[in-house]
């Protein structure tokens, strides 16, 4: 019902949208990955993250790029929960009791496995504690419920926020993941704008 359309609101909306759009144009840094996910506008912006040394230098490139393993094969909770989860060691060992057991990194992993400890991974991508972010819903929107999108191409969706992890060994933060980043994407993709959707 548009009977109560608010002129002031419309006007202000136009102005704010206009300025936001301008901002987006300015903020866009050419050269960052433009994933061509259907029905989606990839978020723009880049961030120069620190190199985070991990207990085991996990090669994402070998797994995701060379061996073409689906991201969700290991980060299996992403589709079911708010967190994507670090794969359990048992999952690693599923392959690595046979594959590449002579590699230094695998030996280290086996050591952890045998001593019944999990490697002390360091967190790379984090949002503040007052932010409620759920992987499940984002994957649903851009992947599972997204017409014309192939589940095999999940890494392109992941790349929205995590960058081209395929090209990295250990993950590095390449998107700012701050409120502006989130909100620009929400605006472009008709995400919710209600504060309590993301803040807790």
């Amino acid at each position: 019902m548009k009977r109560y359309s608010n002129r002031l609101y419309e006007g202000l909306k136009r102005i704010s949208l206009g300025s936001a759009a301008l901002l987006v144009v300015f903020a866009a840094v050419p050269g960052t990955g433009w994933a061509e996910v259907p029905n989606a506008v990839a978020p723009k912006g880049a961030h120069a993250g620190d190199d985070v040394p991990q207990p085991i230098e996990f090669p994402h490139d070998v797994h995701a790029k060379i061996n073409q393993i689906n991201c969700m094969y290991c980060h299996t909770y992403a589709r079911r929960s708010k967190v994507a989860g670090i794969p359990p060691t048992s999952k690693c060992m599923g392959c690595h009791t046979i594959i590449a057991t002579d590699k230094e990194r695998i030996k280290k992993l086996t050591e952890y496995w045998e001593s019944n400890q999990s490697p002390p991974w360091k967190k790379v991508h984090d949002v503040p504690d007052y932010v409620h972010f759920t992987h499940e819903k984002h994957l649903d929107r851009f992947l599972f419920s997204n017409e014309g999108m192939d589940v095999e191409r999940v890494s392109e969706v992941c790349a929205f926020c995590h960058g081209e992890v395929k090209e990295m060994t250990v993950a590095k933060k390449v998107k700012s993941l701050n409120m502006g980043f989130c909100r620009r994407c929400h605006e472009a993709n008709d995400g919710p704008s209600d504060c309590w959707k993301c803040h807790k």
């Binding site: 109560y4 608010n6 609101y9 409620h132 499940e136 704008s193 504060c195 803040h199 807790k200």
Partner: protein, 284 residues
């Protein structure tokens, strides 16, 4: 909160008053509190502490009036409607207990006064408080006739949860630092989970899918919670049965003996919590 939110909420508020009721809401979470059942045992209050990471302030600060009881049980000795009772030697009809949580007013007085719009109305009909937007002007609390907003006068995190008590903290909502206003949220973190689950299962949130911590633990079922837009929910039925409606400053009932009322209704805050009058047998 964006400008859009401010303006849409404002127009919705106006709309609600012109048309009687709210049309664009996804849900309208509401409650009914049966004072006939409530025994004043305080379980709800402690459950709230457990669920919502409420800080323990300690004796001195409690004395100063800086306690953080989002859900509080008030106890009064008088019962104006039955008998004055003041001159009596004993309170022969017992005490009057009143659980007070945020009334989630539809025309919340706290919302328009916040300078940074940290408190606003959600499409769920909830009166939201965005902690990380709050700058601590405390105007909202001043303007709440129910006094249901609590301010973090200190960094409770520094001493309220000595290790390992901090391991009990609920990661589904933040631990508020000093300078932030907070209040009952109807356990929005639980509502969020219920909505996610319902969505995953491709259905609507059903009555009974979600309870705030106080409702879930209430030993006497005095608290009823649900979606007031769902005609089948128990809370809607209760409101209907007691002929209490949203968007009114005075209820007009066919049967004046029905127990439902809202506290400070006349102030036009339009609260989403209905109380049912306490009952006493006066023939003994």
């Amino acid at each position: 909160m964006s400008l859009q939110n401010i303006l849409t909420n404002w127009s919705q508020y106006r709309k609600g008053h012109e048309q009687g009721g709210f049309h664009d809401y996804e849900h309208m979470w509401g409650m009914a509190v049966d004072l006939n059942k409530c025994i004043g045992c305080n379980a709800c209050s402690v459950a709230c502490y457990a669920e919502n990471n409420l800080g323990i302030v300690g004796k001195d600060r409690f004395e100063k009036g800086q306690g953080m009881h989002w859900m509080r049980i008030e106890r009064y000795w008088d019962e104006p409607n039955l008998a004055p009772g003041v001159s009596e030697e004993f309170p022969s009809r017992g005490a009057s207990f009143l659980p007070m949580m945020c009334q989630q007013c539809n025309a919340a007085t706290c919302e328009p006064v916040c300078p940074v719009a940290a408190t606003y109305h959600t499409p769920d009909g909830l009166n939201a408080q965005v902690y990380n937007r709050c700058i601590g002007s405390r105007y909202c609390s001043n303007n709440c006739p129910y006094r249901l907003r609590y301010f973090n006068f200190y960094s409770y995190y520094d001493w309220s949860w000595p290790e390992p008590l901090n391991m009990q903290l609920n990661p589904d909502l933040s631990v508020r630092d000093k300078g932030v206003m907070e209040k009952c949220t109807f356990c929005v973190q639980r509502i969020r989970v219920a909505k996610d689950t319902a969505r995953r299962e491709d259905r609507k949130v059903a009555d009974g899918d979600v309870y705030p911590a106080c409702v879930q633990t209430c030993p006497t079922d005095a608290l009823v919670f649900g979606d007031m837009l769902d005609p089948e929910s128990s809370v809607t039925k209760l409101w209907k049965a007691h002929q209490v409606e949203l968007g009114k400053t005075k209820q007009h009932k066919d049967n004046e003996e029905l127990r439902g009322y809202r506290i400070f209704e006349g102030l036009n805050t339009d609260p989403c919590v209905m109380y049912l009058e306490r009952v006493r047998e006066v023939e003994v």
